[in-house]
Symmetry: C2
Subunit: 87 residues, 2 copies
């Protein structure tokens, strides 16, 4: 899994804001099975919100559920002040 290259390539021009991107993928051995990502989504967002202030309209959350692979993609723009507070 060499996703880091993708993230480093998508490094936009010096942004005035920090950016947090998360991708979570659950590959199931059996079709169907648990909706683990739905359970994890709120807890992970809660953990992030403890450390940085999140603007509701600067958060993009996409979930996709396939037969064997479900993915959760979260993209958060962090206001510059909030990022400094987390330092």
């Amino acid at each position: 899994m060499n996703l880091r290259r993708l993230f480093s390539r998508t490094c936009s021009a010096p942004a005035a804001r920090d950016r947090l991107q998360l991708l979570l993928a659950h590959e199931r051995a059996a079709v169907g099975g648990s909706d683990l990502l739905a359970k994890l989504r709120d807890e992970i967002l809660g953990a992030i919100a403890k450390h940085v202030q999140i603007d509701g309209d600067k958060v993009s959350i996409k979930m996709e559920r396939g037969d064997q692979v479900s993915t959760l993609a979260v993209d958060i723009e962090i206001p510059f002040e909030a990022a400094k507070k987390a330092a």
Copy 2:
């Protein structure tokens, strides 16, 4: 950010285990700044451990810190029984 394609391509042969892959990237507006990922790592792993049983030796954690982008990559194999318990 179309990372989902990558995950779906890397979908291995029907595995006897479920697999959870996480990639977290923090793109900072200013060089230096907070080590947000180090703070989030344990909380996110804790959230995951609440829902599935994790074997210490089936967990791979890689963190990389660049000037502007830090990444956290976690790859967890979930024993089939544990995945059913989470259902």
